[in-house]
Subunit: 159 residues, 2 copies
């Protein structure tokens, strides 16, 4: 459509697009690679994996590769002040387990995933896809990803 | 100023305001209360404080109440897989210490603080104010605060 006669271009199109963008951000555009351990791995080995992979959340899978648990730094710290030897505690004892895990899907809105992180007071969500008799973990969405999204949103606008 | 004749109101003022808002968000509007421990407290007690206060970052102060270090869950997890007893390690051994601490100020832009969190790969920043011969910690800014800011930004727009 042609603009009306006398239409005054405000130069704010960028801002409008920015808002549209925020509304449309999807999890799959911001997710990171998931780091996975098996359920019989020790808490000690899980902590080592966190340091090697430099992540704060691990996902735990069963022998079929399906999601059975989530392990946070908090879960591992709690275990570390217990009286047991960390190398003798398997992660399935200390993880948050299905069905108490909050998940998200690649097509979910980033804003909805951010809301879940806040409401559930957790650091990261597994990004999952349905598999036969379970869920396959295909990504990891954390507060770091959300923070990066905000920074990008700001940078785009040449603040 | 009166609008030009034929000015066409696009109804996008809300979006423009949103962008303006993001540009102007300040650290002091989003910061949380800082949780502080003294430098001779044990790693074990620091972990307990983290759980009691439900935070992921502690700030360490000296006898004058000045900032001397930052303790993350990562620092404490690293200590927990060492061979020493956690209750015999004082936090000043394992903390990140001044001047290697990344700080922010209450008047800083939230976007700049978010950028620091990403660049330095840390979970939280102390919000500080200059004191006599040191820095006083007056707040805590984490990726949780940033995530909340993004969610609010979305909610304001009735997405």
């Amino acid at each position: 459509a042609r603009p009306r006669v006398g239409y005054f271009f405000t130069g704010k199109t960028g801002s409008e697009l920015l808002t549209e963008k925020l509304k449309k951000f999807k999890v799959k555009e911001y997710q990171s690679i998931p780091i996975v351990v098996e359920e019989d791995v020790s808490a000690y080995d899980a902590i080592c994996t966190m340091f090697l992979e430099d992540v704060g959340t691990l996902f735990v899978t069963n022998e079929h590769g399906h999601l059975v648990g989530v392990l946070s730094r908090k879960d591992l710290l709690r275990a570390s002040i217990g009286n047991q030897d960390l190398s003798s505690i398997p992660v399935h004892i200390i993880m948050t387990r299905m069905p108490n895990i909050t998940i998200c899907k690649p097509e979910d809105l980033l804003l909805d995933a951010a809301q879940k992180l806040i409401e559930k007071q957790i650091d990261g969500l597994p990004v999952v896809e349905p598999a036969e008799n379970g869920l396959e973990v295909i990504g990891r969405l954390t507060k770091t990803n959300i923070t990066k999204a905000l920074v990008e949103l700001g940078r785009d606008q040449h603040l």
